[in-house]
Amino acid sequence: MEAIKQVRGRAVVIPGDEIDTDRIIPARYLKAVTFDGLGEALFYDERYDEAGNPKDHPLNRPERQGASVMVVGAGFGSGSSREHAPQAIKRAGFEAIIGESFAEIFFGNATQIGLVCVTLDPEDLGVLAEWVEANPEGEVEVDLEAREVRFGGRVAPLAIREAAREALVSGRWDPLAELMEAIDEIKNIDATRPGPGKRGGYRSLA
């Protein structure tokens, strides 16, 4: 698992606050036993009409193809815990999302698959969004080590939960290996804790 210290690329602005995970990936695309092909379904109902014709959506514009940084508003990723949402964003080629705030579960899910989510204060975010709109060829750089977002010669301080930043820059964003190190201790806890339909464990705690 690689350390993720910087992400750099062209950007696209997805305007609006409270963009929920049903909008990011409509539920009918969850009817699958793998995450394959989710990238194409990203924001499907906002990008295409019911006949499948493309609508005017930032992700459909030719100059935004190949963007790897998404700029969003406040409360991004609210609602469902479906990891399909960050998976779809990642599989569509995005490596980082910059917003005003993120819903809790979405943020955790994204971080665990190495999709960087950082926040800027609303004023800086507004300046960034305007700059991205005006500069489709311009690159935005998210620097987790320097804790800043850089674009067009400007620098804005970014915020991210420290545990997530630490996990990303140290290459430990997928915690499974670290979780498994404690397996003996976990087995002890399992043996002593009560469980559903399991006998024992309550007396020691009472």
Binding site: D22, R23, V33, S81, S101, E104, G108, N109, P196, L205
Partner: protein, 473 residues
């Protein structure tokens, strides 16, 4: 030393260790899985050559994709059939108990856990579903996780999680007649905002919560996530213990007293310190209806839909977007809004008491579903369906023109054939009014309590259930 909240006590006893990132490695007492968010996790395990570490702590059911009009297999939708087959295969291969269709125990995962007694006070509970917060009603620390975390729990019975702050929400006083638990949580979300709970676990208390039944507490905790809080819970009390006693997976008779003593000790101390405390006056809550595209966009039945010109500037864009999508007029009353579909069900309001309340309204009115309205009642589980049928509730609904269905998530998220068509507008006892949520990209949703949904189904428009029941506002 200051007292501790239940959240702190449960966290401390379940923290295996701190990870290098600073997150907690948290032991999970109960893991619930369903067909939509688990197959990829089993796939990852297979790729890594790992086994399920503690299959006795994972339980499965099938809820999201099951058709509710007929149970014959193969299902009409081959993708749905493939998903149920995959869950059967995975649970068989790893020795996990599955409450399958027709077992008598199948249902929405958050209805099944409590009714089987799997959900217990002091447990850490996770599921790949954001409404896992429901189980917090029992004084459990329960939260939704993503599929990669489902993999982590299957492989290690632990997850990496940041410790949250705790906000105590006191709902004081007494609810007025005709006001339900759904109205309480919609009022809380509207008051604190859909992002208000980010970074917090919500602890609900106060006289209104104390006096609630377990099913009502589940409705409140269920929608914590709609207020941005990943976790919501109520301290365990006599109501909790009475609900659990004798359930299949609850502690056995000879262990019961020890279990209860333990559970009592977990409740927040009287002098517990909270990161924030909010006081809500329960007597001021009226029946609620949402008018917009997130659950915080809710008003009482007496209010009018907001006018973007009259709201604070920073809210105007979202209000405008919502009204445009919902095709509602600024300033119009919500009362009298015509509806096309009425849906009673979901993990929020698909339990026996919800169906009883809806049936009571149907009986009080003594009328049929309004012409042109499609009305569905989808019980939350096979057990709920059985109990409702034993009481004759199915007959009350059917006679009035409602469809009586099999158990599942159904039109809450429309992963099965139950969907809105075109820009139909539904009144729904579920939890989300997001754009396209109920299966049509233009479909519109008004969230309300089961009683309000039943009343609207009969009237063909949004009405004040208190007028129908003859109670004073």
């Amino acid at each position: 030393m200051a007292g501790r909240s239940l959240y702190q006590k449960v966290w401390d006893t379940h923290e295996v260790r701190r990870l290098a990132s600073g997150q907690s490695q948290l032991f999970i007492d109960l893991h619930l899985i369903h067909e939509v968010t688990s197959p990829q996790a089993f796939g990852m395990l297979r790729e890594l050559g790992l086994k399920v570490a503690m299959p006795h702590r994972t339980f499965a059911t099938v809820d999201h994709i099951v058709p509710t009009d007929a149970r014959d297999e193969p299902f009409a939708d081959p993708l749905a059939q493939a998903m149920i087959e995959e869950l059967r295969k995975n649970t068989r291969e790893h020795g996990i108990e599955l409450f399958d269709v027709g077992s008598g125990r199948q249902g929405i995962v958050h209805v099944v856990g409590p009714e089987q007694g799997l959900t217990q006070p002091g447990f850490t509970i996770v599921c790949g579903d954001s409404h896992t917060s429901t189980h917090g009603a029992f004084g459990a620390i329960a939260f939704g996780i993503g599929t990669t975390q489902v993999r982590d729990v299957l492989a290690t019975q632990t997850v990496a999680m940041p410790r949250l702050k705790v906000r105590r929400i006191n709902v004081n006083g007494e609810l007025k007649p005709g006001v339900s638990a759904k109205d309480v949580i919609l009022h809380i979300i509207r008051t604190l905002g859909v992002k208000g709970g980010q970074g917090y676990a919500y602890e609900y208390g106060g006289a209104v919560i104390d006096n609630m039944t377990m099913e009502e507490r589940m409705t409140v905790c269920n929608m914590s996530i709609e207020g941005g809080a990943r976790i919501g819970y109520v301290n365990p009390d006599e109501t909790t213990f009475a609900f659990l006693k004798g359930r299949p997976y609850a502690p056995a008779e000879d262990e019961w007293e020890e279990a209860v003593a333990h559970w009592r000790s977990l409740a927040s101390d009287p002098d517990a310190e909270y990161d924030d405390v909010v006081e809500i006056d329960g007597s001021q809550i009226a029946p609620y209806v949402t008018w917009g595209i997130n659950p915080g966009q809710a008003i009482s039945i007496e209010e009018n839909v907001p006018d973007p010109a009259k709201v604070p500037a920073e809210e105007a864009a979202l209000v405008e977007e919502a009204l445009d999508y919902m095709k509602l007029r600024p300033g119009q009353p919500i009362k009298g809004q015509k509806i096309d579909v009425a849906f009673i069900g979901s993990c929020t309001n698909g339990r026996l008491s919800d169906l009883r309340q809806a049936a009571r309204v149907v009986q009080a009115v003594g009328d049929k579903v309004a012409a042109g309205v499609r009305a569905l009642v989808v019980p939350g589980s096979e057990q709920v369906a059985r109990q409702a049928e034993a009481e004759g509730l199915d007959k009350v609904f059917r006679d009035a023109g409602f469809e009586w269905r099999y158990a599942g998530c159904s039109m809450c998220l429309a992963m099965n054939p139950d969907k809105l068509v075109g820009d139909e507008i539904s009144i729904s006892s579920s939890n989300r009014n997001f754009k396209g949520r109920q299966g049509s990209p233009q479909g519109r949703t008004l969230l309300a309590s089961p009683a309000m949904v039943a009343a609207a189904a009969l009237a063909g428009e949004v009405v004040d259930v208190r007028e129908i029941l003859g109670v004073e506002a």
